[in-house]
């Protein structure tokens, strides 16, 4: 990744602020309650990116290290996990998605030229492909969860 650290930190903090706004407007949050939680999400993301840039570890994608770090830091018994989970649990899951999709939306304009050049046929195929992935995995999960006796 060509991004520099100041830029990464700028992006993460901006995102954390927007997540906080999202949580306050949409899910009854407050600055006092959620500020630490929102910033914690950014700090853990930064730590994960740092891990992903280390030699040897950089063989695997950044998404993996960021996710793995977050998973480990939330396992009961890991030092600090209880505090981290308590602080971040009031940040609604959907509140972390709205800011990201807002930026995704603002970047969509540059795809429009490319989209115009495509054949209309790609649209139904696209819908079928993503539906297939969701439906087939759900079906497999349903069967397996039954066999495992989860429900």
């Amino acid at each position: 990744m060509k991004d520099t650290w100041p830029d990464i930190i700028f992006i993460l903090i901006t995102t954390a602020v927007l997540v906080l706004v999202s949580n306050i407007v949409g899910y009854g949050g407050s600055v006092q309650r959620d500020l630490v939680g929102a910033l914690l999400l950014a700090v853990i993301a930064a730590a994960g990116i740092f891990l992903a840039k280390l030699p040897v570890l950089n063989k695997l994608p950044i998404v993996f290290w960021v996710s793995a770090l977050a998973v480990v830091l939330s396992i009961p018994g890991v030092p600090g996990a209880d505090w981290i989970v308590a602080r971040t649990k009031d940040i609604n899951f959907l509140a972390t998605t709205t800011p990201i999709l807002a930026y995704a939306g603002l970047a969509l304009g540059k795809e429009i030229e490319g989209f115009k050049k495509l054949s209309w046929r790609i649209v139904p195929i696209c819908l079928a492909v993503s539906a297939g992935s969701f439906i087939c995995a759900t079906l497999m999960a349903e069967i397996m969860l039954h066999l495992e006796g989860i429900f």
Partner: protein, 257 residues
């Protein structure tokens, strides 16, 4: 400083977040609309080049911003997995097996439609995977981006970027409301391997089963993590060769390369 240079996109992002969350989750019959969808759609309207509200540089900055901002969501998803690790390990086999659904579902549903619409080798690129960034890279390396396969994968990539999250959130909402599947199974299905599509699908499932929110997010997060990590290797070594074989078997067209 970026806040000064690209102030427009950050201001718009702030406004979009406030407007989207104000509208909130709306349900119309079987269909669920989430704030993330309004943010995406309204942002898309603002960025339409004809309106000249945003420059190309602004849009490129927003596009560069996204993958790093996405990591904040990945942290939130990850933090939901740890406390439920015990439950997830108990259904470990289901988590592994459902990945086959994710990986072959694209081929199973996509290829018939592509062949029906008389797509040629574009169908291979379009249907071998969910066609996010790493999958585009695989096809670009093997066939080149200007080959028929490359056109297929790029078409799917653009189309998925435009409609993927919206489509999957509507679809997941409808299928959840039908009541055929258990919420945990739906949650695993949501782990498609694209963070925005996973979030969109999970949001719709949670809207249908609010009491199970925490467990749904844990299952979806775990499945999504597996799909994204194994996905690249699976796509490269299994999905792509299988798709090529199936395509050539059905159409009788052997590869010229």
């Amino acid at each position: 400083m970026d806040l000064v240079k690209n102030w427009k996109i950050h201001l718009f992002a702030l406004l979009l977040v406030i407007v989207a969350e104000r509208i909130g989750i709306q349900k119309f019959g079987l269909v669920v609309f989430l704030p993330l969808f309004y943010a995406l759609a309204l942002g898309g309207v603002i960025s339409v080049p004809k309106f000249k509200i945003l420059s190309v540089a602004n849009m490129e900055r927003a596009g560069q911003f996204m993958p790093i901002a996405m990591l904040v969501l990945m942290v939130k998803i990850g933090l939901g997995i740890g406390p439920n690790l015990h439950m997830l390990l108990n259904s470990g086999l289901a988590l592994i097996m459902q990945e086959f659904g994710h990986f072959f579902g694209t081929l199973l549903f996509g290829l018939p439609v592509a062949l029906l619409l008389k797509m040629k080798r574009e169908a291979i690129g379009a249907c071998y995977s969910i066609d996010r960034e790493p999958n585009v890279a695989i096809i670009a390396e093997k066939f080149g981006i200007f080959s028929p396969e490359g056109r297929g994968v790029m078409g799917m990539y653009i189309c998925g970027t435009l409609f993927g999250a919206l489509w999957i959130s509507v679809l997941a909402g409808i299928i959840a409301k039908l009541g055929i599947f258990h919420p945990y199974a739906l949650a695993m299905g949501a782990g498609i391997g694209s963070a925005s599509m996973m979030a969109a699908a999970t949001g719709s499932i949670v809207a249908s089963f609010p009491a199970e929110a925490e467990k749904i997010q844990a299952y979806a997060g775990a499945a999504n993590l597996m799909t994204s990590v194994i996905g690249v290797y699976f796509a490269l070594f299994i999905s792509l060769p299988v798709t090529i074989k199936v395509y050539e078997f059905i159409t009788g067209n052997k590869s010229v390369k």
